[in-house]
Symmetry: C2
C-alpha cells in the first residue's frame, strides 16, 4: 500500500533519530511491499530559522494532508539557547502546542514499559519495580492550563500574571473514552488522576469520568489525587495499568513514570485525534547537549514509528516486526550509551538503526 | 519561659500522633523549665462535626492568639468518607486551605531527609539515593491555582469548569526570599521550578526569582521545568538542596520527594508567615484506614514540634534535644510498623512517644 508520512525532524538530536526511524521504515516497505512517501515539515527551531515563527500555515496543511506524522524532538535548551529570551509564544515549544491544537491531537498516549534487559538502568529497587512493569498514561493534550487564556498586567507598579485552567464536559468525555477503550485491551483498570479536593475543573473531571465508566462495566475505575499519584509512582508503580489525567498533571506524571523505568530513551508516544490520524514522537526531549555526536538512542523514535504503523496505518504485522526487532537487538546485547551496562556492546545512533533494520 | 500553643488534633490518626508530640513537649518543659499552655482548636472534620463548617472565626482567633500551631492531620478518605460527596468548600481540606490564608502562611517548608537507619525503606537503589540524602522544598502556600477564582457554568447544556492560577510580584518575592535565606544556611544552591516555556505566571516567577537572586551572590540559582524536576527527583535526587516552587507544583513535587525517602512517616513540615509565627504538621496525611489502632508513626509530628521550637519559639537547644532523641531511638532499633525492618523492635504509637520522651 501507499502512505503519506509527514516527517518533522525537529531540533537537537531530532534529525539523527528520525533518520534511523526512516531507515527502519524503508526496510519495512521493502520486506512488506509498501510505499511510504515522505514530506519534511518544519516545526520548532527549524521553522524559526527558516520562517521566523515556530509553525507556519503551510506546515499545518502538509501535516493534515498526510496519513500520519512522525516527529523527532522539539525545543531548545533553556540554559544555553537564545530562545530562552523569547516570549513563550515565539519559542520552539509553542510550535508543538500549536500543532497539537491545529491537528486536534487531544489524546496523548505515553507507555512506560521496562524491558527485562534494562532493569539495571531502573532507579528503583528490584522489589519495588517488580517484573514486567508496563503501564500507559493517557494525557489530555489540547485543553487545561497550557491552552487557557493568559495575561500579565501591571497595577500600581506591581505585575501580576494569570493563567487559566478550563475544561468542558465534551473535552473530558472524549479523552475518558480513549482511556477506557485502551483499558479494555489491557488489564481493565483505569486510575483517573485529579485534584478534586480543591479544583472545580477536577470535580467536573471526576463527574464526567464516572459517567463514561458506566459504559464500561468490566473496567475498574479508581480516582487518585495528583499529589498521591506522584508518590505512588515511586512507592508502588506496579499498581497502575492505565492512568487517565488532564494536560498538566499528565505532563508531570508521564515524565515521572518514564524515569521510573530508567530508560526514557526507549519510550515512544502517540498523540491522536478522533480519527486514525496521529503524531508520533519519542517521550524524551531534544537533548541539545549531545546533538550531532551520533550517540543518541534512536529506539524511542523507532518504537514511535511502530505505534504509527499500528494506530494510524493499521499495519499491525509490520508494527510487531519492529517491536520484535528491538527486543532481539536488546537480547543480543547492543546498547546505546544512555542504556549501556557492563558486558554489553556499545553502538552509536546509526549502528543501532542498522541493527534494527537488519532484523526486519 | 511561657508559651501558648494551639493544638489542632485533626482527623484520622491526627489525635493519636498529636498526643505523642504533646507528651514529648511536656518532657521538654520539665527538663528545660518552660511552660506550654495548650488550647485545642477545631479544624477539618472535627470542626464539621461540632460546627458544620471546616473552620470557624473562633478557631482562627485562637490560632492567631497563640505563639505557634501544632497540628496532626486533616482530611477524610475520598473513597469511604461521605465528605467526598460534599462541595470542596465544605470538606475538611477546605479548612486547611482557609487557615493557611487566614494566618497568611505563605511559606511551606518540607524537608525530605533520609535517616541512614531507614535506607532499607527507600524505594531507590543505593547508588541512586546515595548517602545523607537531605533536601528541602520551599513551596508557596497561599497563592496560585488552589486560591484562584473558580467557577462551573453551563452553556447550551454543556458544563465548563474554570480555575485560575495567578501570582503577583510581591507574592513571588517573599517566598523567593525565604528560599534564599534557607539556602544561605545550607549548601547555597536554589533550584527554582516552573513551567516558563508555557505559563505566564511561570515567566513572572522566573523574572522575580532572578531579581531576588541578585541579593544573594553566594547562592547558585538554577531553573528547572516542572516535568523535568519530576524526573530528576527519581533519577538523581541528590542533586537538589533547596527547591523553590509555586503552590501546586510544590504540592506534587514535595509528595514525590517524601516518597523518594521511603519514610514519609518521618517527615515534618512548617508553614510560616512573615513573622516567627507558624503552623507545624507532619507531611503525611490523616491515614483514616489505620486511625484508632495505635500503630501510627508519631515521629513526623514529634519532629514538627521540634521545628516549631526552632522556628517560632527560638528554642534551638530544645529542638536539638528532640531531634537527637529521634536519632537515638532509631539507632536503638525501635520502629513503628510503617518503617519496620527485619531484626528491629516493633512498637506502637504511644510506646514510640514514651521512648522519645525518655531520651529528652
Ligand atoms: C515542550 C512542552 C510544551 C511539552 C508539554 O509540556 O506539553 C512537553 O513537555 C511535552 O510533554 O510534550
Ligand atoms: C489537602 C490539600 C488541600 C493539601 C494541599 O494540596 O495543599 C495537601 O495535599 C497538602 O499538601 O498539604
Amino acid at each position: 500500500m501507499n502512505y503519506n508520512i509527514a516527517l518533522i525532524s525537529g531540533d537537537g538530536i531530532g534529525p539523527e533519530i528520525v533518520a534511523e526511524a526512516k531507515k527502519v521504515l524503508d526496510k519495512v516497505c521493502e520486506v512488506y511491499g509498501h510505499t511510504f512517501s515522505y514530506k519534511e515539515v518544519l516545526l520548532g527551531g527549524a521553522s524559526i530559522d527558516a520562517h521566523g515563527v515556530p509553525l507556519t500555515e503551510e506546515a499545518i496543511a502538509d501535516a493534515k494532508a498526510s496519513d500520519a506524522v512522525l516527529m523527532g524532538s522539539i525545543g531548545g535548551d533553556a540554559k544555553t539557547s537564545p530562545w530562552y529570551k523569547l516570549e513563550p509564544s515565539k519559542r520552539p515549544e509553542a510550535g508543538l502546542l500549536a500543532i497539537r491544537k491545529a491537528l486536534n491531537l487531544f489524546a496523548n498516549l505515553r507507555p512506560a514499559y521496562l524491558y527485562n534487559e534494562l532493569k539495571g538502568a531502573c532507579p528503583l529497587k528490584e522489589e519495588v519495580i517488580g517484573d514486567g512493569f508496563d503501564m500507559i498514561i493517557v494525557r489530555e493534550l489540547t485543553g487545561g492550563l497550557y491552552f487557557g487564556d493568559r495575561k500579565t498586567y501591571e497595577e500600581n507598579g506591581v505585575q501580576t500574571a494569570v493563567d487559566t485552567l478550563s475544561y468542558n464536559e465534551n473535552e473530558i468525555r472524549r479523552i475518558a473514552v480513549k482511556a477506557f477503550d485502551i483499558a479494555m485491551k489491557r488489564k481493565k483498570k483505569v486510575t483517573s488522576v485529579d485534584k478534586a479536593n480543591v479544583l472545580d475543573s477536577s470535580r467536573l473531571w471526576r463527574k464526567v469520568v464516572e459517567e463514561v465508566a458506566k459504559d464500561y462495566p468490566e473496567v475498574t475505575l479508581e480516582h487518585m489525587l495528583v499529589d498521591n499519584c506522584a508518590m505512588q509512582l515511586v512507592h508502588n508503580p506496579a499498581q497502575f495499568d492505565v492512568i487517565l489525567t488532564e494536560n498538566m498533571f499528565g505532563d508531570i506524571l508521564s515524565d515521572e513514570a518514564s524515569m521510573v523505568t530508567g530508560s526514557i530513551g526507549m519510550l515512544s508516544s502517540a498523540s491522536l485525534n478522533e480519527t486514525k490520524f496521529g503524531l508520533y514522537e519519542p517521550s524524551h526531549g531534544s537533548a541539545p547537549d549531545i546533538a550531532g555526536k551520533g550517540i543518541a538512542n534512536p529506539l524511542a523514535t523507532i518504537l514511535s514509528a511502530a505505534m504509527m504503523l499500528r494506530f494510524s496505518l493499521d499495519l499491525d504485522k509490520e508494527a510487531d516486526a519492529i517491536e520484535s526487532a528491538v527486543q532481539s537487538v536488546l537480547t543480543e546485547g547492543y546498547r546505546t550509551v544512555d542504556i549501556m551496562q557492563d558486558g554489553m556492546k556499545q553502538v552509536g545512533t546509526a549502528e543501532m538503526g542498522d541493527l534494527i533494520a537488519g532484523h526486519i
